[in-house]
Symmetry: C2
Subunit: 386 residues, 2 copies
């Protein structure tokens, strides 16, 4: 087990009806916020009105910045930074899923920084950030309590991540009822994203990580069990609640303690969704099984354990590879059954830009740690995923 430092101070308010407490929660920190959200679906569902009412009841003023797109953009982040400076706002309230939350985090880092906020995505350390709060409506990215943010720079379509404990929201309100209206495709993409967050941590070369192995497996099993229920009965509170809380646990940092995580699949996927603007979860469903097939020989025992404990594949003491391939096949089949594409072709992506993507995601060195991947490795994985 590796030495580690872990701290996650996000206050979670979880459950039916909790979103009406947003004004009270914000009032512990400030009296004016930047209200940051996406497409306006929160207006259709009535959530917007309820949040505005709650803010007004707590005498919280707000300036709005709507229109955050999936795979949130740098230009929007810059708009947010300007708005916060102009209106002297010190708190950002993100409503939605990973996109507005990640956008809010980048704004939070950018406001007190005199330089270009993209510097942080190029590796500069964040020293200061505004506070942010969250009302979560899409369980997926885990951004509601994670320390990270992923932003796409339109110029060159670079999709890059930052991480800092300063970016963890001070509170996140999580009401599973708000996820009832999520369309099946988005529900499934979110499920895939949270599973991928666990798998990136699970596949490590670090030995003796028994507790976190088991916690990862537990969370995966819960997601696998509840995903079909949530898809079949969108208003099933319990299934939605299990999925929502699993998405946070998947990415709040605990499952990665003491381990060296991988993140190669996310790196490859960022090129996919950066260039083709496909849903992040769909990209992960395509890449992860292909990555597994390419790397399993590094620690086959870990893939046997995965097959046995997560997918109930019967131990095969005569053939390691039978078990391993069965575990990978069930992973892929699950993604397919919940409605995700599991090949590039299925997602309408051909071979024409594979080399470009492989080049781009390895230009600063090899990807991942389970098996460090160079350009040719990534290319082979992308070809396997065709």
């Amino acid at each position: 087990m590796q030495n580690f430092i872990f701290q996650n101070a996000t206050r979670i308010l979880f459950g039916a009806g909790t979103h009406t407490q947003v004004g009270k929660e914000v009032s512990r920190h400030t009296n004016k916020v930047l209200l940051h959200y996406g497409s306006g679906s929160i207006k259709k569902t009535g959530l917007y009105d309820q949040i505005v009412q709650s803010l007004r009841e707590s005498q919280i003023g707000f300036v709005e910045l709507a229109g955050v797109q999936p795979n949130p953009r740098l230009s929007m982040v810059k708009k947010g930074i300007e708005l916060c400076r102009e209106h002297k706002i010190d708190f950002i309230l993100a409503i939605g899923g990973g996109s507005p939350i990640d956008s809010a985090k980048a704004i939070a880092a950018g406001v007190p920084y005199p330089g270009d906020v993209w510097d942080f995505f190029a590796g500069k350390r964040i020293e200061k950030a505004l506070k942010l709060g969250v009302v979560l409506t899409i369980p997926a990215a885990g951004s509601e309590s994670s320390d990270s943010s992923v932003i796409t720079k339109e110029e060159g379509w670079y999709k890059r991540a930052i991480g800092s404990n300063l970016l963890r929201p001070v509170f996140s309100i999580m009401n599973p009822e708000l996820t009832y209206t999520l369309p099946p495709y988005q529900t499934a993409a979110g499920i895939t994203d949270m599973m991928a967050h666990i798998l990136e941590r699970y596949f490590t070369t670090e030995p003796n990580v028994d507790l976190t192995d088991r916690l990862c497996e537990a969370t995966l099993k819960c997601i696998i069990r509840n995903a079909p229920k949530a898809l079949k009965e969108p208003n099933n509170y319990d299934a939605r609640a299990e999925i929502m809380w699993s998405g946070t646990i998947a990415h709040n940092g605990i499952l990665g303690t003491g381990r060296i995580s991988d993140w190669a699949t996310h790196g490859i996927e960022h090129e996919l969704s950066g260039i083709y603007d496909i849903t992040h979860g769909a990209g992960l469903a395509i890449i992860f099984p292909a990555w597994m097939k390419y790397v399993y020989q590094v620690v086959p025992e870990r893939f046997m354990q995965y097959a046995y404990r997560v997918w109930d594949v019967a131990p095969d003491f005569f053939s390691k590879t039978n078990m391993i391939h069965e575990g990978i096949a069930r992973t892929k089949q699950f993604f397919s059954e919940i409605g995700m594409p599991v090949s590039l072709t299925e997602a309408g992506i051909d071979a024409s830009r594979l080399e470009e993507m492989a080049q781009k995601c390895t230009e600063h060195g090899p990807l991942g740690s389970f098996m460090p991947l160079h350009k040719q490795d990534v290319l082979k994985i992308l070809q396997t995923a065709l």
Copy 2:
């Protein structure tokens, strides 16, 4: 699933050698501490000297209060409060296991409070507390990141608990190497304590708590697997590390999210160790199996799941009770195998004061929530445990 609020901001520094960072960690908060510890075994092992050196290197002054006993006492808490007031100390550094940490928490609550600190143990809400930090040497109580403290009032031997988010340590340093010198009995008592913390949460009447069920089972399985290793090879870093981190996860609050926990066994045990001053973990090993036998009929399915998932008892579709009793028997056998007493008689306790204990722990109403226990119920459980 129940609505819940969860926040745990304790900063964990985990791993080999981390205790030498204590001065640096303290210096983020203050320049003078109350150094609070137990019997002086930290002087024999050299830990005391290393901590003092680290504090000096960071220019941290300190006043000492040593001699915290197991089942920490109110009189010591009062001494600590006086010392902090006298020396204008605003930070307590606890070194050891649950006893000095719990004592430090009670001091932290008491210093800014003009009344009697025992008021909090009688139900008064804590509004303010000093900060505290921890160097953990005994993995057991989970107090290193929990919100609770248990103190014994010598007058009448009342052992009572308080809980508040204000009592969570701001940091906890956890070096598994520091646990190498723990005697087998204390190691086993700690293991039992952390398992009990999970079991108190696991046995709930709340339906649809799939994720936390599985996280509980995962942590239990990790403890069950690593306990014999840590006992057989006291210097096995990996086994000690798994046990140490499991003890925190067991009690940091996550495993209880969305559930109604029970805590009747702890309530009964507090009378045992309050009156007979036996080790808390040993008391729990005696009471838990007896409690299980008495209450399982409330939700037999939960006990079947426990037997199957935690103890690998084969499902028995023709007899619920076979499975359930096998699960309980394996629990008891495990406690016995790691060296705990599993009956009152084994611990040298006879039937003479059972009624007194049953009376005392139910004097403010029934105990627990899985099955609310009245005096007669507690008496029967104690008789079963003889």
